[in-house]
Structures are given as C-alpha cells and as structure tokens.
Symmetry: D3
Subunit: 252 residues, 6 copies
C-alpha cells in the first residue's frame, strides 16, 4: 500500500495557492504531497546579451532547496560558492520546458525568470517546480498582456510534469522520496495540454529497462499530467481561456 | 499615519506558526507585518573543529533571502558564488545573539544550526529572524532534552529583537521597508526576557544622532521586545516554563 | 543529401584507436565523423568518501572540450573558475551510464575515472564520449582483472550511445553539428548490448513531439547502437569475450 | 594595573604619521599602542555604477590584516579566495562612518577609497582604522579642494572611533588584545567632533549587559574620542580649520 | 645511456603535424619524444581592454594538461576552480615569448590566442608548447595576411625553445621527465632564428650552479634550438620564406 | 643621470630594519630606494601534506602588494577572489630561492612561511623581497636553533637578489620603476654568498638580447649582490657567523 492509500496509477494530493508572494509579478505555492515549492515569476524589460536585438523574449529558471527542505540538512550552495550539477541540470530543464510553450516573439524583448525554491522536499521537486512555475508564469504574462496590450497572448499551451518509476516490477505514478530511492528505473516526463512530449528523461542506473517498461511508464505519466493540467486550469480561471485561445489560434 | 493605523510605539501584527517544516528538529514561520521568515533548527551530534574536545556545544545561523522576497529581484548568492557582506553580517549577528542565552556546556558536544530564509521581505528581516529562530531553537532543544535526558535545560532566557529608527524627528518602533528607507537613524536591538541588552547596533549614516535620541530609541525597543517575548511564550507553551526554570536556576 | 552521402538511417564513419595515451590504464581516441574525443581510464585504489566501507567500487567521469574544439573558441572553464551546467550534465550522464553495466561489488573498493576530452567537436560529443569511454574502461578493468585476479569480471554488458533527431519532419540517426542545430527534437539514447535502455533523453525545446516520433527515434537509435557495439567488440578482441561471459553468467 | 600604567579611563599612546606612503593622495600610519595601521586614500574621477549620474561622490573602504599582524599567522584572504565575514563587516563599518561626515554633493562625481591595512594588531584595529582613515581622507580631499577649486569643502566634521568594554565588572576605555579577549561586553563607538553618535555597536555575547553598563561605556567612549580628535587636528594643521569652517557653515 | 640511444647533445625525435584541428585558424600537433601537445591559434578581430585604441595587436597563450597526460592523474583546474601557479607561469612565458617575434603594429587591432593542450607529458611540455605554438601562429597569421592583405608580414623571426639541465655533473640537452626529476639545475631557453635570447630561466633549487655550468647549458640550448627551427621551417614551407623576408626587412 | 646621482653600476640606498613586527618569529622592513617591503617569518611545527613523514622541513613564501603601493591603485586579490599570475610567479620564486640555502633535514619537520608585503613599490619588489626575507628567515631560524637546540645550523649560505636591465644600449644595476618600464631586457638574478647562481631569469620581450649583453648583466648583478650581502651580514651580527660556520662545514 502506498502512503495515503493511493493506487499505483494515482497522483498525490496536489494544491496550488496563487499569489503567494506579494512582490512578484506572478507567484504560487505548489504542494504535491509533502513536497512544497514556492514559484515566483519576475518580469524584466531586458533580455540576456545573447538574445539582444532579435525582437524576442526569454524565459529562464533558477532552482534551489532550503537547507532543511530535506531529511538531512544540505549545505547551502551560496556557502559552498558554487551551484551543484544537480541544481544546474534541474534549472536548465525547467527553463527549456517552459520555453516550449511560450511564443518568444509575442513576448517581446523581455525576460521572465522563474524562481523555484523548494521549502520542503518529498520526491518530485523538479516536476512540481515545472508544474508550479507554469502557473506563476501564466499570472505574470497575463499581467503583462493586461498592462502592455500585447498583440498576441504569448502562451500557446498548458504544461505540466510528473515523475514515474519502476519499483520491483511495478510501474508507479508520482513517486515520493522513499519510493524514488527504491526505484530501479526513474523517469521524468513533461507534456503539453495537447498531449505532446516536451521532455522525456528516463534513467536506468540500477538496471537497464525494456521497451515494454518504457511504454507503460509513458502511459502513466500522460494520465497524471492530464489531471495536473486540470488543477492548473482551475487556479488560472479566465487566464486558462486565454491560453486555450492562443493554442487554438496557433494550431490553425 | 502608519500602515494599518498603528502608533509610533506599536509593533506590526506578529504571528509565529510552529512546526512549519516537517523534517527539521524545530521550525517556525514567523510573520511580522509582511515580513515572512522560515526558521529551521538542525541538531547535529558534532561541533565545528575549533570547538572540539571542550565538552561544549555550538549554535550558529545562516540567513538568506529568496530572490523575489524583495520588490526588485536579487541575484542569488549561490549564482554569484559568494555571500555578500550584508548576509555575513546578519548571520554572524543571529548566531551571536542566540548563543548569549544558551548554556553551551549544558548542550553538550552538539551543534544547532538555525537557517533563516526570508520568503517575503518588508523591513526588519534580521530582527524577525532572531525572534523566530529563538523559538525554532527552543523546540529543537526541548526535543533534545526529552530524547537525551540532558542534566540541565540549556536555554537560560528568552530572546527577541526589534528595529527602531528616527524618521524626521520622530522615533518609531518596528520599521517596515518604506519607513526604513526614510530613516536617518536606524537601530537594531536584541534583548533577553530579563530586559538585558545582548546587541545594540545603531547607525547614523545619513545624520549623526544625539544621546537623547539614543535613549528614546532604546526605550521603544525595550517595550516592543517585551510584547514579542509574550508571543514567543504563548507558542512555546510548556517549553516556556522550562526556560523560566532554567533562568531561575541560573540566577541563583 | 547528408554529408558523405549517408542515408538518414546511417551512422557517420566511426573509428576507435586503442591505447592512445601511454600513461593511462586504458585509453582510446574515438572518432565519429569529425568529432574526436580522447577517453582515458584511471584506476585508483580508493573510493570517494560516500562509498567507503561498502566493499564496492565506483565509476565516475569528467568531460571537457579544448577551447578550439569548436568553430568559435570557447573560454576555458578553468579560466572562468567553474564548470558550466552543460559540462556537469554531460559528465553526470557519462558516469551514470557506465555504472549501469559495471558490477561494483566485483570491482572491489576501487574507483575508475573516465576523462573524456573533446579535441574536435562536430555534434554528438556526449554520445561519442560514452561509446569511447566504455572501451577505455574495458581495457582498464581487463588490466585490473589480469593483475589482481578479480574473482569475477566486473563488466556485465556492452554499452554505447547515439544521438537521433527530427529535422523538418524526418527522423535522422547520428546528427552532426549542423544538423543538430536545425533539429526541432533532439534525443540521446544509451543502450546495452542486450538492447535494453540505460538512458533516454528527448527534448522538444523548439516544438513538442508526438508519440509516433518518439517511437521512430528509438528504433533508429537502437539500430545505430548495435553497429557501434560491433565496432567496440572488434577493438576489444578477447576482452569482448570476457564481457559476453560475464553477461551470460549474470543472466542466469 | 593596565599595561603602561594607564588608568581605566585612559587611551593608549597614539601617534599619526602623515604622508606615510608616497603614491597615495592621502596617507597616514596610525599607531594606537601596539596596533599599527597604514591608511591610504585614493581619489578616482568616477563613481560606482549605482551612484552614476546623481552628481554626487562616494566614499568606500577596504580593510585587511597582514598575515602576521597577529600572534598566530592568519591565512591570506586572497589565498582563500574570499573575504571573511569579519573583514566585510569592518570595511562596511569604516565606509559608512566616513560617509557620515562627508558632503557627497560637494565632493562631486568622484570616489575616495580608503585602504586600511593592519600591519600589527593589538586590539582596536577597526577603530584605529576609522580614526586614521579620517585623516588620510582629509589630506586627499584637501588636495582635491586645492587642485580642483571645489565650491565647498566637503568634510563637515571630525570623526574618530574607540572601543570600550566591561572586564569583570569594570568598564574600560580602549581595550588591547588581551583585555578584549577577557571582556564580557564589547562596544565600538564612532563619534563626530560635535559629540554626536555615528555608530554604536555593543555586543554581550558572553553575558548580556544592563542599561547602567551601557551608559558608563558611552561616557568613556565620548571622552576618549575627544582626545583622539585633538590628535587628528594637530596632524591636520590648517586643514583642521577648513573642516571647522565647513562645520560652522553647515550648522547655520 | 639515454633512452633511444641519443647522446647528451642530442634532441629527442621531434615531429610537427600541421592543420591538426579543423576549426582553428592555425593548428599543429607537436611531438617531442613522448611529449605531445596540440597547439591551436585563434584569431579574433578585437584586442583586450588594456590594448584598445593603440592600433596594435596582441598575442596571448593558454596552457593546460589533460588530467591523464601524466603518470598519475592530475585533478582538472576547472574542477578545482582556479588555475595553479605553474600553469599561470607557463602561459605567461609562452605569450611573452611569442610576442617577441611579432610586429604588433603590423598585426593590426587583432588578437591571437594560442591554446597549448598537453595530451601526453614526458618532460619539456612548456618548451614544446612554445615551439609548436610558433608554427600554429605562423599558419594563422599567414592566413590573415592572405585574407586581409596586411601591408607587412607581422612575424620577424623564427622562435623555438628547449630545456637543458645538469644531471650529476653532466649538462644535457632536452630532458625527458625522468631526467628532469633527477636534474640539480634546470634551465629553459627560448631563442630566435637569429640566435638571440628571448628568455633564459635557470633554477638551481637543489644546488646553486656556477658560471661555467651556465655557459655550457646555454651552448647546448643554442644548438638544439637551431635544429628545431629547421623542423619548423620544413613544416611551414613557403611561409618560412615570408618570415625570412620580414626578418631581412626589419634588420635593415 | 640616474635619480640620486648614482652610476649605472650602483645600487640604490638600501636599509634593513630588524624586528619590525613584534609577533613574528623573524621580521624586517627592507627599503631599497623607495621600494619598501615588510618581511615576516612564521615558524610552524608541521609541514605541508606532501612533505609529511620525510623528516625534513619546508620553506615557502607569500607575496602581496598593498593596493596603493603603486602609482595607480590595484584591486586587492582578496576582493577579486584569486591570486594573479604575477603574484604566483613571484611567490614561487621567493620560496624556491630561499630553499636553496636551507638544509631542510637540519630544519626538522617544521615549516617556515615568509610573508613579503610590499607597502611601497618603486621597482625591484621581488628581489627586495628575497633579500629581506632571507634576513627575516635567519632571525627565525636562529631563534629556533636557540630554543630547540638543533643539531646543526640549517642555513648554508647567504642569499640576495637584484634586478638588472638594458636601457637603450646600456646595462644598468638595480632598476627603479621608471627605468624598468623603459628597459628592453629585464633580468632578475639570485645568488649565494659564495657567488653561485640560484636563479637567472632574463626576458627580452621588447627585443631579444645577445650573449654579450647577457654576460654584462650577470657581471653587474654579481657585484650588486655582494654589496647586499654585506648589508645583510651587518644586520644579522653574530647570526652571520653561524651561517658562515654552517657554510664552512657544508663545503668540507
């Protein structure tokens, strides 16, 4: 039995609290089981040097964990004086995933930085970060669209992410920390509202995996992500309609 | 008129949510007006190298702000690769203040690290950190006292901190960010439950200040800190009695 | 037409020069088209701190590019004072992939470091590094097995990697730099000699991808990797038989 | 008895050697007992980025100790690759204190950097640095006033600093290293020639202190600082009159 | 007997493979015995800040060793986060030496960076780097002269370098690693084609050396360098004539 | 005419003030013209890891300049977060030079660190550092010999250093900063009291130099160093005899 009595095909309870931090242009607290992440979106009227003069915007992300988000305290990366490889990998993933659903031309020469700070960790922090950051970004872009009268709404589709894994011989959806540490195959999947893949990252460090296992994991992920996108849409309210409108326009 | 209609002698509304982070030995969310800080206490059964073999414990603190805790986003110190001077100054202050009320011999060869992470900033983040960290530390030490049957309760007194300042010609208690940026004199005061000073840090960068102003500021701080200690005691419940007991024993 | 006249299902010409660096316990120069990587394996009779006392070995990797491996000179990471996120991501991937085919217990408390230094880059440097590093590691482990009379040969299976991608609407095998920069979907696949997946990393930054595209890419990767493993086996000669023997023993 | 037979209310012998370093726009060697600090003032015709375009100048300070200024050799911060918290705290304090007596508008868009390098340490290095840096700055600004015909002399008042502390139950002025390490309360006070406070930093790490102790310490500090300012005025000669003139003009 | 049967006055076998790396403007692989260095020359149409606006070019060098170039693996400087003193010393030497034969005015406001990456080390890596980098630079400058129609060919003379040392009481030319570690005096000499000295660096850490020893070592170095320059000229072909022409013009 | 009316064969006025810093085991202030360096020697009863268990001592050096030792202020290396190449080169040179006259076996498992801090620079700072550090080291070792009754006096010979250069066509001894910046050839020579070479570092960045020029420079350096050693011996007094005794014993 999994904690909380959920089945292998079920997500943990998930909640998104909007406007969690007052200064940010967009922000949420996302809770997936005991994993809690503060996601803030900051809009700046400039782009990084490599993007200058292209008439396009940029979306990037930073990720961090509070030292005591985990069972054993982690030394701060600021104190160590450098970002670890895991952190860099995750923040590159979050940024890449979010950019896949943003029309950078429609955004204009602006940048949006998503800060994902894990205040409590219990597995799936990178996927919760993507799912929460999408909502924070949508709030910030909506504010921009309202304030600046953008010609076109720059978000083309919903986006969410989930982890799946094989424990023993059983594929399971949305692993918590304890499950994750026992999984022989571990996969993170990022998908759009239209059911297309944005990222598929599967790792069989402890044991390689078969094509059949891969197929089962992808199916589980797809069903979980659909549920998550419903939660996002509920929190976004009328903004969800603007996204659907942009998606409809883009697909024509 | 100050925000919320408070007088110059009044604190902002203050709230301490205990046990905010599940993994830590002690933790709180402290809110002082719109300033919000997560304080966690981590107990480790070892001391830093310079303390080894003395039969005494150590208490230290780390302080950080989420990038978007502030009105304008701050670059992460982890990304810059080093701690700024302000951060170092603050974390040294928090550690020093907390140690002043801990009997390090009674703690034994253990260390307690207080992580103070500001998730939303509106002035007074260092004083809120001290006030919150004291409670988180008390929870952690109480757990230790319960689990390890320490011979003596190692906390001798309550401890809280507040900022005061002179705006125009008026001394005011507990400045928010906007007030702080207009103050010509800025002072942070840390005091014990017995009304003794632990730290007095007054700065007149924009204009030097007179002895009379100093006296008025100290009086304001003292009254504010007494109120804060009442809030701490309420949250700590029976642990407050253990502190009062240790204080009584120490003063004899 | 692709450079060299190859079809979309064909690898670039690939060559592995064994024993390329005289000091290392194992080394190769791997050339995949114009991509050239020196892979060396270093055996040390100690393990990292987190592995101590478990009676198991460790395999890790480092990756770097000479500044002028690329069309435009890159600043050295040593001069910048830190490793970039891309480098960290790649070296974590190489290490993880290699460990999946090594029996760490059979290796004993030793570590093997694979240094993958790209001297000329033309796409697919991380997959060439994995494919070359596997051979360098096999030479080093074979030497160890010969010198130390290990009870069991510690490599369980072959391992190789290739990149695949979608350009326009066409899935293609083994992208060179120019193709890679035009691909809308980019995937790196690491597989064993038995045809099991070790890593699947697909990214649709410029456009999300469908399940059908994913399936086509996996099939292309599988066929390319089989060819690569034949090249590896040819270079390894009798060592290839020891790997097949260990694989046979492990599967029983 | 204190070293040299001085009373608890007496400063150590103090000497300021002007023009100690030939290249600097202003420089002194200040000796307070066995504490010796070289202070140099560098004038540059530019301001830091955050001050640009405001028509105002800037004053900043850096502080360091030679490795063998102390009884036990300290590792160089340049070798460690970062400034320690104590150094940052001190250099922020020196800069802030000096700015409090400089009219930044009258200085114009220029910056003055005070380098305080302790060549021998025996307690009170930060207060000796402030006291010496004030004189070095006055020489440099006077040279500027002479060369550039500034409309107004930019120094408004004298400035000096001293440490005070409680040893046993006795408040003492100007602690040397040995006294400092026995003090239960330690306070640094920075004051102007007019007897106003610029900084009050009192710390009771080993034991909190009462209001009465605070009052006694402030009185001791005030008397010591008056003596120090007389020494400064003697070294500055006619420049002292220009400061008094500016002070007189400012107070009207 | 020395390895390979060479006499004390003889160089190791030396080979220069031109155009070793396809992306660089000039490149070679230089092999001196078992020492192998990849040298690439990168031309950029800009100069470092301190050279701007002088109408002159700049030549600089970077040096590194692959971790397993040596018998025992060296930690990467990129992983350590800083360049070692030996590396800095060597890359400053290479840059300085190359600049001595380049007419920086004739080069125009461009910079040439020579990257010297040691892939296998067996003594004399810095002198091999200079000798190889000269050829890579000549290829790059010749390309520039061809493409940009420089008014004057900017290389004035040939340049090569060799190490010499005293082992026991015998001066020897071109030490390999094993000889180098036994030498009591160690000297690196850089000379031009005209037989003038550019750098003489002699060190007697284990024992000081006499004037007579110095004279013998200089004579050995001179003869070795002449041979090296013949090899360079052979590889450069018609470019060697352009260098001789510029040399002839400069000496008139 | 040179400054102060000295001839091309003459040193600048040179003065060594012994026991300049009270805490160090040995210390001097050395002044060579307007170049002033504080040299301190620190003795520690341990050796660096790579020297452990060999029954031998170690001598090392660190070098730094105060920011305003020079005409234009230099940024602190501590603020930059790393040592520059020039600093590393110089401190390696000082350490190597000093070790050449120390019998490391006779020193025992101890280390001596020489800190050379330039407080005012006017050319020749590295050679003044070597010359001054030798005296500071001799004081420290003499103290050690007195306190610890070393079986043998560990300094075998005197050691001093000087710079020489060619300006126009004239070789000159002991260049000041202005001369140094005009020199086309620049050479630093370190010699023992017996007239043997320890280091010869000649650089012809602006123009290569002939054998004849090299010979003239070496002769000038030798005569200057002899004078310097007389000054050292005068300051060392009876310690000079102990060095001569050890030298006599070593040469038998």
């Amino acid at each position: 039995m999994r904690i909380g009595g959920r089945t292998d095909q079920e997500l943990r309870p998930m909640q998104i609290t909007p406007h969690y931090i007052k200064h940010a242009e967009g922000s949420v607290l996302i809770e997936v089981g005991d994993t809690k992440v503060i996601c803030t979106a900051t809009v700046e009227e400039r782009v990084p040097p490599f993007m200058k003069g292209q008439g396009k915007g940029w979306v990037t992300a930073e990720y961090s964990m509070l030292p005591r988000a985990t069972q054993v305290r982690n030394q701060r990366e600021a104190a160590k004086g450098k970002l670890g490889g895991r952190t860099m990998e995750i923040q590159r993933l979050i940024g890449r995933a979010l950019r896949s659903v943003v029309n950078l031309e429609a955004l204009g020469e602006r940048s949006i930085t998503l800060d994902c700070d894990v205040i409590q960790a219990d597995g799936g922090t990178r996927t919760a970060s993507i799912t929460g950051a999408f909502v924070a970004m949508a709030f910030a872009i909506n504010k921009l669209a309202t304030d600046k009268h953008l010609a076109k709404f720059p978000i083309n589709d919903f986006l969410a992410a989930v982890s799946v894994g094989v424990i023993g011989d059983t594929p399971k959806l949305d692993l918590n920390y304890e499950e994750d540490s026992k999984a022989k195959v571990d996969m993170n999947v990022v998908m759009t509202g239209q059911g297309q893949f944005v990222e598929v990252q599967g790792t069989g460090e402890d044991a390689p995996f078969s094509r059949k296992e891969l197929d089962e994991l992808l199916a589980l992920a797809e069903s979980g992500i659909q549920t998550m996108i419903e939660v996002q849409a509920g929190v976004l309210g009328p903004i969800a309609d603007r996204i659907r409108g942009a998606q409809h326009a883009a697909s024509q």
